[in-house]
Symmetry: C2
Subunit: 150 residues, 2 copies
Amino acid sequence: MTDSNNAKKDDFDLLNFLPFLLNQAAEESSLEFKQIYKNRYGMLRTEWRVLFHLGNYGEMTARDIGEKAKIHKTKISRAVRKLEQRRFLKRIRDENDRRVERLSLTHQGNSAYRELRTIAWNYDAKLAAQFTTGEAALLRMMLRRLAGMD
Amino acid sequence: MTDSNNAKKDDFDLLNFLPFLLNQAAEESSLEFKQIYKNRYGMLRTEWRVLFHLGNYGEMTARDIGEKAKIHKTKISRAVRKLEQRRFLKRIRDENDRRVERLSLTHQGNSAYRELRTIAWNYDAKLAAQFTTGEAALLRMMLRRLAGMD
DNA sequence: GAATAATAGTTGATTTTGTAACTAACAAGA
DNA sequence: TCTTGTTAGTTACAAAATCAACTATTATTC
């Protein structure tokens, strides 16, 4: 290893380390929105994610949601149970393949979805407004790449 | 609310929602590094963060670390205990203010830090290599802004 | 200088997540 | 058809994060 490489490593700063930076940005930038779905709707993160998927894409199975959003099936299982208990979604056993449940929002679930979607949309706009339109677009592209979503 | 606003909201996609995107990118991009500090060093996330702070900035108090990295004091307290048990750090009671402990790495802790720092540095370079130098710099800037670090 | 408030750090109880093992249903090959 | 493997989803147990209450010490205020 050369001297210049050592010099670079001495410069290494945790606060510039991408995994750390990403994590801090993710936490900080979801705080305010979290307050809303947590305090106002009594939801956990996975719960609103499931709600959003069903609201956005319509009927899906737990497996579909897990694949699309890379959420582990045990998390989804628990979120689905809670949303069902709160009458936000209903399950229908698929008679062609009885292992599968087709999930969809109730009327109540759909109302909650639309309210939260509006809040989320405004919240996202507020975050993005810190940057130019081009920067924000580039940011989303880079995040998708880092997340392995392309 | 106008029709065009409704049209925009109908387009709203969880997968483009910044808090979601940031979280996915954070998780995916730290997975490989996590394997290393977890499996090879038996460390938790907060533990390597504390280790990195002490390695990078020298002697600090638990409070200093928490403030710098926005980590809650109970997490730090537990991480410090574990690092102390593994003889990676030592505490010295500050005699000017006996509430405070001054934390610093042992020789062993410093070795671990330097090994992990090299790995982290290479890992960061690998992540950043997905982008141009300018893009990567912009990304870090944007993340710092989102994280409230400026 | 005694009472009250504030700060550094710890501990315990509760909630949430992660991991692995499990059930039930379907699929495929011998 | 039997048996072996795979898939959808659940459950149980362990690990970790969160939140509130706690001790010990220092600072403030009357």
